[in-house]
């Protein structure tokens, strides 16, 4: 019997070695370990054995059963592993095929630049003020100390709504600042971005409608040096810490002293190129210390408070940022253009 068991073990292990499917394994399990299997058959003959032989053979039989069970379990794991790796191989993809396309809309390039500017100013403690585009001349001209003789008031320069010149399309966003000053006590820190209108024919660098971001700071003891510091900070955040600025005297009716601010050409870095007309500088901002007359006209005591104001053209900032050479592209709304940003 012992030989039979040894033989059975060898047979079973050999058969298992040649099994290649879970079905074969199952039939082998039934054949060797089942209720009507070979081990059971041998154990049934245990009665014919002597008292001394019986435990020895019994132990051997259990041993053989355990070995076969273990071998089957091994084989099952092995087969599962094989199956899995075969499946993984069969499921392999060409991962270089492009992924599913998720279309996301784009911001207009001017909005990207405007949002960035807004975030910079919000970070400096500013609020964002809004106001009407169809505006009273009172706010866009008179309260800004713009003399009645100023060329901006010409019918060739400004779009008028009322024949008596009392209402027109604002030619700057400064009237928003006047409205803020009339309605808010200092300290004031606002920017007023928005659409403005000037009677220019459309060409590569002009548009009858364009956008400005104007800013206003009013508090006790605000100086021209503060204006320089704030605008330097803005330029550094927009164009990098090393970008140089140049403050040139200029004239605006609502500020005194007034200046224009040039930044080192962002294209050539100041060495001179086509964009900066070989000057190394790009005109970016108009700015100045708010004229005391403007403060007084808005109910703010110029003996107590002072402030500065500035204005930037959003189209120009955007064109410089992305190297856009024709302003018309910004208003043509061609997706081939818009989808680049």
């Amino acid at each position: 019997m012992k030989e039979n068991l040894e033989q059975l073990r060898a047979m079973a292990l050999d058969a298992l070695n040649h099994a290649h499917s879970s079905a074969e394994l199952e039939s082998l399990r039934v054949k060797f370990l089942g209720k009507k299997g070979e081990i059971t058959a041998i154990l049934r003959q245990m009665g014919s054995l002597s008292e001394t032989e019986r435990p020895i053979i019994g132990q051997l039989a259990n041993e053989v059963r355990a070995v076969i069970e273990e071998a089957i379990a091994d084989k099952v794991r092995q087969l599962e592993a094989n199956n899995l790796s075969e499946r993984l191989i069969s499921e392999a993809l060409d991962v270089t095929i492009p992924g599913k396309e998720f279309l996301i809309g784009r911001r207009h390039p001017m909005t990207i630049v405007l949002d960035e500017a807004k975030d910079i100013f919000i970070g400096m403690g500013f609020n964002i003020a809004e106001g009407p585009e169809v505006e009273l001349s009172l706010y866009d001209f008179d309260k800004l100390n713009i003399p009645t003789t100023h060329p901006a008031r010409e019918w060739t320069d400004t779009f008028y709504i009322e024949a008596d010149e009392s209402v027109h399309l604002r030619c700057q966003t400064s009237p928003v600042q006047v409205r803020v000053m009339e309605n808010q006590k200092p300290p004031i820190r606002v920017i007023s971005p928005g659409r403005v209108y000037r009677k220019d024919e459309v060409d590569a660098s002009h548009s009858p409608m364009f956008h400005q971001i104007e800013g206003l700071v009013i508090d006790k003891g605000v100086t021209m040096a503060d204006l320089k510091g704030t605008l330097n900070l803005l330029v550094h955040k927009l164009y990098g810490d090393k970008t140089k600025t140049r403050f040139r005297p200029h004239h605006f009716p609502f500020t005194e002293p007034s200046c224009e601010v040039d930044v080192q050409c962002v294209v050539c870095g100041g060495s001179g190129c086509r964009t900066c007309k070989q000057s190394g500088w790009l005109e970016l901002l108009g700015a100045g210390v708010v004229h005391p007359k403007v403060l007084a006209g808005c109910g703010i005591d110029p003996e107590v408070y002072s402030g500065f104001a500035f204005g930037i053209g959003l189209e120009r900032m955007t064109m410089l940022r992305y190297g856009i050479d024709d302003m018309r592209l910004l208003f043509e709304n061609d997706l081939r253009f818009l989808s680049q940003f």
Binding site: H108, Y197, P257
Partner: protein
């Protein structure tokens, strides 16, 4: 403003190079646009003396000349000109020379004869008869020089091409800088050089102007001062070369000595002048008055002008002879026959001149200066300078006496110089002595802290104006940047945040942002089929638009969006999904229109009604708009009557979504297109303010699907509402998941399938609960809508 550096050097001696001059002047406030170096345009052109001239063999028109150009050996040059004689002095472009316009001259052979350069005509040197009246004109004639010169001399100083012409951008507050003297003053302060403005000296010749002429100002409000002098024995001839060159450098065409003198003084002193032929002044009178009703006159440019009663005229006893500050009259023009001339040097009110010039559509050099407001003290020195030049040029004899009329004497502005206040405004610590020094050099009088502003600086009226004067010469670039310490409570308003959120939702839905003009034309309203009597046509109208198509502020954002779709369609972009937060301008309220931002969507390509509706639904859902519903909209002429819906929140109409009416799409040349217009402010009004946490359900939900068959006129909204109303408190959600028409339902009917979710917060629901709810629902649908279970 173009100024010759040579002319400037009459008043202050500045040795800076062009680049140094440009930079320094720009940084002190007189922005230089460009400098033109006349000398750079001409290279290696010299004076030559013709030694010998003979015919080129076998040619009937070519000559070969041997010319002394100041070198060891004469050069040989072939010319086709017929006006060259032996001993003539001529301009010679040598081998490898350059002429204006970039023409390069090199040696070569003509008809086999060696030619070592070219003889130049006036045209080739970019001068003309007004510079050199004696010169032959035309291509064929060589410029035979009558100037004092020697063979080998550089031609450039001889023809005045050794100057630098500086172009300034002068701001509107500085009309004093529209003159050589004004810019000389700025230059002198910038470079720390001496400024020397000689007082004009007129010798005179006896006689008395008052015996010949009287001047009367009828309207002293508009004519602040009128100064006149007279010249007799006028000899009209070309003015000298130096004067012509300076005029040309400033962009003024030389005409004759008298006209050139008035222009020269205008450029030098910034004071426009005029010369009248005295013989044409009836009654020997000049009367400054406004025009009478219906009066007309012919101006110097030969045009008959209809005048209005607010226009200021220069008249004689009988007729107008000039439009004050704008242009003289044809009837009193100085001509070859003129014997006596009256010089006018006057000061007119800027606004009046601006209005007159604008109304007549004739902005002249004079009017553009007057309208900025000129120095009332300048009329006398200017007329004196003109008379000095008359004597210098021998253009006539100056009659003694000056008529100088003004109602009110000039009263200078006085300001306190408060150094501390100025430093406080600038954020600097500039010495008071520097302030006094700078102001003094600029022509201000500073005595005991009181500043007297010079008459030519009408822009200075406040201490902050003084601060700017000091700052720009102290140097804007020297001021140390600082940051003001202040409160920092900045941030976006809820509306601004909402606007950002809405637009970012649009992009998440694949819509890209566009930016369109706010103005449209009536034809755009035609294109969207807006009825002729629509109130939307009554918007804000621009009185002076660039064109009809940009003449009204839009009352609807649809035409702008359709324009953008059209352009993309035209560029063959296959798919377009566009959005704009577009402001519309609704009527005129009190005084100003109401400006409302309208979220506008536009789409074509792989789109249908339910896609764009879905986009709107997503936006409204994510913005937490309450009680959103859609109702068929059949009456908007811009949209498909069967495929558009009004968007509501409760009873508030937020806007419209749908297929663009095929007729409208056709007007814009696009195919099937979709759009939505949603009023942002109304949307925000209807949005729930805060998100509130809802506890997660403790008990599981039961779902039931039902399909009912109903008439075609029953809508999904009808059934959904019916289900909600009859479903009881356990019914939590209803979703339509299928609509079917076809073989498997009766003709003229449709089947709609809904998925219902029921849940209780108190217990796990059983089938009995669900069956009970379903029974009520089906009963309600049948009785209300004739919808029966399928």
């Amino acid at each position: 403003m173009f100024i010759s550096r040579k002319w400037l050097s009459d008043f202050t001696n500045i040795t800076a190079s062009s680049q140094e001059y440009e930079d320094a002047m720009t940084m002190s406030g007189s922005k230089v646009e460009a400098t033109v170096e006349l000398s750079e345009e001409i290279q290696k052109v010299v004076v030559g003396r013709v030694l010998e001239i003979e015919r080129v063999p076998d040619s009937d028109h070519l000559w070969v000349c041997r010319i002394d150009v100041g070198q060891d050996e004469p050069v040989q040059i072939v010319t086709g000109a017929q006006n060259v004689r032996e001993n003539d002095m001529v301009p010679v472009a040598l081998h490898k020379s350059t002429l204006p316009g970039g023409t390069k001259i090199t040696k070569g052979k003509i008809r086999g004869v060696k030619s070592e350069g070219m003889l130049c005509s006036t045209i080739e040197l970019n001068v003309d008869k007004s510079d050199f009246p004696y010169a032959t004109t035309g291509e064929e004639g060589i410029f035979i020089l009558q100037e004092e010169c020697n063979p080998g001399d550089d031609i450039r100083p001889i023809i005045g091409a050794d100057d630098s012409i500086v172009e300034f951008e002068i701001t509107s507050n500085r009309p004093d800088c529209l003159s050589v003297i004004g810019l000389a003053r700025e230059s002198a302060v910038t470079f720390g050089t001496e400024l020397n403005i000689p007082e004009p000296v007129v010798k005179g010749s006896g006689g008395d102007i008052n015996e010949l002429l009287s001047i009367e100002i009828k309207d002293p409000e508009l004519c602040l001062r009128y100064t006149g002098r007279m010249i007799k024995n006028i000899k009209i001839e070309p003015s000298p070369k130096w004067m012509r060159q300076r005029l040309r450098a400033a962009g003024v065409r030389p005409i004759n000595n008298i006209v050139d003198i008035t222009n020269y003084v205008m450029l030098e002193y910034g004071q426009p002048m005029h010369a009248f032929d005295y013989a044409c002044l009836d009654g020997g009178k000049i009367i400054v008055r406004t025009a009478t009703k219906g009066e007309t006159m012919n101006t110097l440019d030969g045009v008959t002008r209809a005048l209005t009663t607010d226009m200021l005229l220069i008249a004689d006893a009988k007729k107008p002879v000039g439009i004050a500050g704008v242009m003289g009259g044809e009837n009193s023009e100085v001509t070859e026959d003129t014997q006596y001339v009256v010089f006018e040097s006057a000061n007119f009110k800027g606004v009046s001149i601006r209005k007159t010039a604008g109304a007549l559509g004739m902005r002249t050099d004079a009017s553009s200066k007057f309208e900025k407001g000129l120095d009332v003290e300048n009329t006398l020195p200017a007329v004196q300078r003109a008379c000095q030049l008359v004597e210098l040029l021998g253009a006539g004899i100056v009659i003694d006496g000056i008529i100088d009329i003004r109602e009110t004497p000039f009263k200078p502005t006085k300001l306190n110089l408060d150094a501390q206040k100025i430093n406080k405004l600038l954020g600097t610590s500039i010495d008071e002595s520097f302030m006094v020094q700078t102001l003094t050099k600029l022509g201000f009088d500073v005595v005991d802290g009181v500043v007297t502003v010079p008459s030519w600086r009408r822009d200075i009226e406040h201490f902050s104006d003084l601060a700017e004067e000091i700052a720009r010469f102290y140097g804007y670039d020297v001021i140390e940047p600082t940051l003001h310490e202040g409160s920092a409570d900045g941030g976006f308003t809820p509306k601004q945040i909402a606007e950002r959120n809405v637009t970012s939702l649009c992009r998440a839905l694949s819509y890209s942002e566009i930016c369109t003009y706010s103005f449209v034309g009536q034809s755009d309203y035609d294109s969207i089929e807006l009825p002729k009597d629509s109130p939307l046509r009554k918007g804000v109208t621009i009185l002076n638009p660039l064109g009809e198509d940009t003449s009204i502020m839009r009352t609807t954002s649809l035409p702008s969006m359709m324009g953008a779709l059209m352009r993309n369609w035209g560029h063959r972009n296959q798919v377009a999904r566009l959005y704009e937060m577009a402001t519309v301008y609704m009527g005129i309220g009190e005084k100003l229109p109401e400006e409302r931002p309208i979220l506008t969507l536009g789409a074509y390509g792989h789109c249908d009604f339910f896609e764009i509706k879905g986009a709107c639904e997503t936006i409204l859902r994510e913005m937490r708009v309450k009680e959103v519903r859609f109702a068929a909209e059949q009456n908007d002429p811009s949209y498909h009557p069967g495929r558009s819906a009004a968007v509501f929140s409760g009873e508030t109409k937020l806007g419209i979504v749908g297929q663009v009416h095929p007729t409208v799409a056709k007007h814009f040349g696009v195919g099937e297109a979709y759009a939505a217009q949603i009023d942002l402010l109304k949307l925000l009004d209807c949005a729930a303010q805060e998100r509130v946490y809802v506890p997660l359900p403790r008990f599981p939900a039961i779902t039931r699907d039902i399909a009912v068959v109903c008439g075609m006129d029953v809508t999904a909204a009808d059934l959904t509402n019916g289900i909600f109303k009859s479903g009881g408190k356990l019914l939590r959600d209803v979703k339509l998941f299928d609509v079917y028409t076809g073989d498997r339902v009766q003709a003229g009917k449709k089947s709609m399938a809904f998925s219902l979710t029921l849940r209780s917060d108190e217990q796990t629901l059983t089938d009995e609960h669900a069956d009970e709810a379903l029974k009520n629902i089906l009963l309600a649908l049948e009785t209300q809508f004739g919808a029966v279970i399928r």
